[in-house]
Amino acid sequence: MTPDPDTAWTIKAASARAQREWEEVNAAEPELMAALRVRLRLRPLDRSDNPNRTHRLRPPLDSKNVDGQKLPQWQHEITGAGRIHYCPDKVTRTVWVTMVNLSHPRETE
């Protein structure tokens, strides 16, 4: 599904490091990242399809300052071990990507 440019969110990197991580994961898993990109552009706050994979983080990780703005912090499970963290800005409809990796170093039991 192609996102409608009038309503789609814009995805941007919150840091040069996050941008580099996005590009590295994109090179390693292009199909996975294409699907993720569509998801983030269409519905970054929606978890109705799979509530176990998309989470709004709770304190003390519930928010983050991006360029001076305090924004909520979300996480989506790309794969069993892969995670993307992002801060959606509802006002500008921008998804600020803060961290991407395919192998989360530690998972709680």
Binding site: S15, N52, D67, W96, M99, T108
Partner: protein, 153 residues
């Protein structure tokens, strides 16, 4: 004709009036008394599963709460029982989890869907997972002062 209305079916009703018994069970629950007097309940499986999940989570929560209170048990992961993952979070966050989960469970126990409980639990587990890794924690806590606004991913 449900168990709540105080009508007990006999075991023989399962053969003679099975439709009536099943309809009562579908409406909520049907009490069936066996020949030796033992009371049995027939109810929708989904409702039974829901009730069990709520009670299991409430029990886990009580166990975890006993660790959170001042003077409670030592805060080892094992002391948290089924919520051992919670032990990695700061105590203030643990207490907040307790309050949020207590409220969500009470709402669910009143007959609402369990989905909000599942979502809340998932959010907190994801938070604990991220918090448990020092590198991830540091990244997620840090301010982002130099975003890349001109580049669209």
């Amino acid at each position: 004709m449900s168990a709540d209305e105080g009508i007990a079916y006999q075991a023989t009703d399962l053969a003679r009036n099975h439709r009536e018994v099943i309809d009562a069970a579908r409406r909520g629950s049907a009490l069936i008394r066996d020949k030796d007097g033992l009371a049995l309940v027939m109810a929708p499986a989904e409702e039974t599963r829901r009730t069990r999940e709520i009670s299991d989570l409430a029990l886990d929560l009580v166990r975890a709460a006993s660790v959170m209170i001042p003077g409670g048990a030592a805060r080892t992961a094992g002391a948290y029982g089924g919520m051992a993952w919670l032990s990695v979070l700061p105590i203030e966050s643990q207490r907040r989890f307790f309050h949020e989960m207590s409220t969500a469970l009470m709402v669910a126990a009143s007959g609402a869907t369990l989905r909000p409980v599942e979502i809340l639990l998932g959010d907190w587990r994801a938070t604990a997972e991220a918090w448990a890794d020092p590198d991830t924690r540091e990244r997620l806590l840090a301010d982002e002062d130099t975003p890349m606004p001109s580049i669209e991913l």
